[in-house]
Amino acid sequence: MTELAPSRLSARDVLRVGAVGLRARRLRAALSALGIAIGIAAMVAVLAISESSKADLLSSLDRLGTNLLTVSPGQSIFGEEATLPDTARAMTRRIGPVEALSATGTVAASVYRSELSPAAETKGISTLAADPSLPATLGATLADGVFLDTASARYPAVVLGSTAARRLGIARAGGGVQVVVGGRRFTVVGILDPVTLVPSLDSAALVGFRAAGRYLDDEGDVSSLYVRSDPEDVEDVRSVLARTVNPEQPDEVDVSRPSDAIEARAAAKSAFTSLFLGLGAVALLVGGVGIANVMVISVLERRSEIGLRRSLGATRRHVGLQFLTESLLLSLAGGVAGVALGAGIAGAYASSRGWEIVVPAVVLVGGVVAALAVGAVAGLYPALRAARLAPVEALRSV
């Protein structure tokens, strides 16, 4: 009598045996892996696209800084529009950590392409008086021409926001292009790029405070103060701003931080993302059900193979492992294909938007792991069924 060496199946052989079943039924394997691939691709693409867009927003924030505060008049306790006191600018400048300060003021004047334009066609363009330091304070750049300077601020010169320029049909500054502001001709000296931190400037026509007083009979009460402070002290400045600007009625002053709006936009994208992520998860679930389905059929079809393997010395565990491995290999193939597809979609989308492509490694690894988890769950029941099948039962079934 010889000592019984236990039946063994090395990890490599487990993989081999698992792959055999798939190779024998390629089309079926490919289709069931496709189900998983679609789910994973959807999830990876959604995550990577939202990450790329968030990274784009945040990188623009980095560029523009989060240390800009906006002061605007709120409402009086009677619900009327309040105004900022004339002293607002001078008082604010006295706050220690304030590094830059610019103001704009609302001017009651409509802007037209020419005197012949119908009066009703204001095109939604507002006129604002602006300090020459405005672009520096806001991090705004010019698409063409120059901004107002201390000289041109006294003369009928105007700088158009990007949207305003488009609506007026003006592509370039200089060359003596003029528009009609409040019934007077103003020369367009510059056109702004879109202003990320203060989008309301995009549809504005900007003139100097002096020019506003001299040509438009409206000195332009300060309606917005833009305050750039030391990044360390933003919150401190914020807490004293209202009281400094209007010591008598600090309640009538609104202080906001435009970068908060951008961060909120980034966060809102995340909320949107979870919706799509949920849809991707449903697709993945359906893919998992597909795999379970294919595996159950496979166990039924291959009863004689199971019986044969038991007669060759396979234990229940070996048979169960074989089918579980098959399911895991299916989902692994689907997961890898899905991750590649999803990353590709995200990359194409991001580059079409001119974003930097951000595909977090955790998403790539997570996609494959999620696929494997689905494969494990989907394969468990069929594998148990295969393992429980009595050898005689399995051999008899032909």
Binding site: M1, A5, S7, V20, R309, G313, A314
Partner: protein, 224 residues
């Protein structure tokens, strides 16, 4: 000579009133070639399954190669099948889409041998059954007789002490069936104990020893 297989008072009941085996005792010496023969319903298939440890008896004991099968765990029984027992089935049970060589190599799969060795021994086994020219052929490219010879190669590649052949010629024409029987005889001459289960009396009469089964009992044992 020593007994490689000893069965004592084997009983197998399904439910309370179906008795497939009703007390079968059988001793097989090392190197024997015998036929277990009987009409359908005589219990011969059940006897094959019980002797081959694919199914546990309701009562009685089996000793295979010195191991008391009735006391072994499921895992040890699997090990016993992997090392000491070979099976040839009427339906061949070859895996489609895999070469003859791979099918035969699977006979060693659960013995923990590396793939290279399994394939080398599989090739030897295929040479032994006369299929040296069919190594890379797939089952659907082989005739029935050739398929059964591949199955025989798979059953002997692990050099088992006992080879069970369940109706090995049942799906074959006379000529290929005879070839398979000749192959089994040849293996037996090489030292393998071969037990053929069949309902074919003619085939059984040809073999050195014949155990006739009827209604779950041994009716005749030419060695007794």
């Amino acid at each position: 000579m020593s007994a490689v297989l000893e069965a004592e008072a084997l009983e197998k009941r399904y439910g309370s009133d179906v008795a497939a085996l009703r007390g079968v005792s059988l001793a097989v010496e090392d190197g024997e070639l015998l036929a277990i023969v009987g009409p359908s319903g005589s219990g011969k298939s059940t006897l094959l399954h019980v002797l081959g440890t694919l199914e546990r008896p309701s009562a009685g004991t089996i000793r295979i190669d010195g191991h008391e099968a009735s006391t072994l765990s499921e895992r040890s029984l699997a090990a016993l099948r992997a090392s000491a027992i070979g099976f040839v089935f009427q339906q061949f049970f070859l895996l489609d889409g895999r070469s003859a060589l791979d099918n035969v190599a699977d006979g060693l799969l659960y013995g923990g041998r590396p793939l290279g060795e399994r394939r080398a021994r599989a090739e030897e086994a295929l040479v032994r059954v006369g299929l040296a020219h069919r190594l890379e052929h797939r089952p659907n490219q082989l005739s029935g007789g050739e398929q059964q010879r591949v199955a025989v190669a798979r059953s002997i590649v692990g050099e088992p002490r006992i080879l069970f052949a369940d109706e090995p010629t049942g799906n074959l024409d006379t000529v290929s069936g005879q070839a398979v029987v000749d192959l089994l005889r040849e293996l037996n001459r090489g030292g393998t104990t071969v037990i053929v289960i069949t309902h074919d009396r003619e085939l059984a009469l040809d073999l050195p020893r014949r155990v006739e089964l009827r209604d779950g009992l041994v009716e005749l044992d030419t060695a007794a």
